[in-house]
Symmetry: C2
């Protein structure tokens, strides 16, 4: 084994304005770029650089391939949308290392953080994450429904703002409906909800609504769903949709 390296790079939500300089530099320096094909398509092709595109369903195989390439001396970049640390490739890579060859633990590995979809959505909406919050992935196959249920209940009990990642799934389309049904049972119908789809990209779409009126089936896999705390509110304004605010102080009016 020679001195290969592996960078796990966050591409952010899409536009170049949100790509950190460290990420640009890692992409430029790479001999091999590994990732889900639509993410690779966002990156300028550089001469001499190999690309290894794959289907999104084989995260762990992609992670193993990337580590193995680095172990053979490559300067490998494996890319994620958003932040690789949040429900993304960083965990897949370290799972592959944990289960893989002992020599892999000696590799030079860097995680390059990126702006997550949650942050891009929050920025576009105003300040919905100004106070305590939680992030829950509804991705299928990664956890049993009873743990999702337990977490949604606890999040409501704690009065966290709730960010739902991966709200839609072909295999389990009912999950988001079950999640909304549960939350409607323990949070006010007037709670603000935002569906923030493909923020920063051409097909961006935002729907602001209340928990009582929300139609969860509008969420697809490019949508980040934000559900307010009891303090989250709309600020109406002329000439645009309302801003969404969760104030820094809790219980000020009580």
């Amino acid at each position: 084994m020679t001195g290969g390296s592996l960078a796990i790079v966050g591409l952010g939500p899409g536009p170049a304005k949100w790509l950190a300089p460290e990420a640009s530099a890692a992409l430029e320096a790479a001999s091999d770029i590994v990732g889900y094909q639509p993410y690779l398509d966002r990156i300028p092709q550089r001469p001499g650089q190999q690309r290894h595109g794959s289907d999104n369903r084989v995260e762990i195989r992609r992670a193993r391939d990337a580590v193995a390439m680095a172990a053979q001396g490559g300067r490998v970049a494996v890319v994620s949308g958003g932040d690789p640390g949040v429900f993304a490739m960083a965990a897949a890579v370290f799972e592959a290392i944990e289960a893989g060859e002992p020599a892999w633990r000696a590799l030079d590995i860097t995680v390059v953080p990126g702006i997550s979809a949650m942050q891009a959505a929050a920025a576009r909406l105003g300040a919905p994450l100004g106070h305590d919050f939680c992030a829950i992935s509804l991705s299928d196959n990664l956890k049993p429904w009873d743990i999702v249920q337990r977490r949604l209940r606890a999040a409501a009990e704690a009065d966290f703002v709730i960010a739902l990642f991966n709200p839609a799934s072909k295999a389990r389309p009912e999950t988001i409906h079950l999640a909304f049904k549960l939350l409607r049972g323990c949070k006010a119908a007037t709670t603000p909800v935002a569906f923030a789809r493909a923020i920063g990209r051409e097909d961006e779409r935002i729907v602001l609504i209340t928990l009582g009126d929300a139609e969860p089936s509008i969420a697809d896999m490019s949508t980040l769903v934000l559900i307010g705390s009891s303090e989250t509110r709309f600020i109406e304004r002329p000439g645009g949709p309302p801003w969404l605010l969760t104030p820094r102080t809790y219980g000020a009016g009580r």
Copy 2:
């Protein structure tokens, strides 16, 4: 009122490699930069640009000043460390707007997201945020202790990874100790804990430990504290501190 604008800009954790291009552009275009003095000190001084530094304790006054300057036609940038949307200036600005002059709602306002301390810490540590997590600020004066307590209990019950922001306070130094005492009562003593201080800056310091052995008084206001879920674990490696992993799949071994 003329056409002023206000950008609420995230500077990230410190180093230029984590400053998004949109943030650089907003700082360059500003006629006035408003912020906590140590954050202003990170930004190159440009000719003709006015700086308005202040003490950290007057967030809401700073927010009001920035909005008022924009209302008078300035191209104002108000800066935050990390992500302005996460426990930072975005909420303060929208609180100021909500309580302020009606004309302020017609202003051109942009939130420019940044890499948060939580993400920088996660990137340095491995993949601790690979699964569901919550973020709780222990900042004093912003919420009663009973809501912090309720949230910590709910976070333990939900088995979230827990990120604690602003863990130390001169006014209430006991808060972090109370938080650890509570968590020790409801989580395993072997739960991995990381104290990640000033990540990316010269005085960066990381302490990896378990919940049972942690000494919470080492956390200062530049420290992000991460407390694992029941699935979070260390991956030992030669020549460096262990990586921290929370796998994407929950309950795989049960």
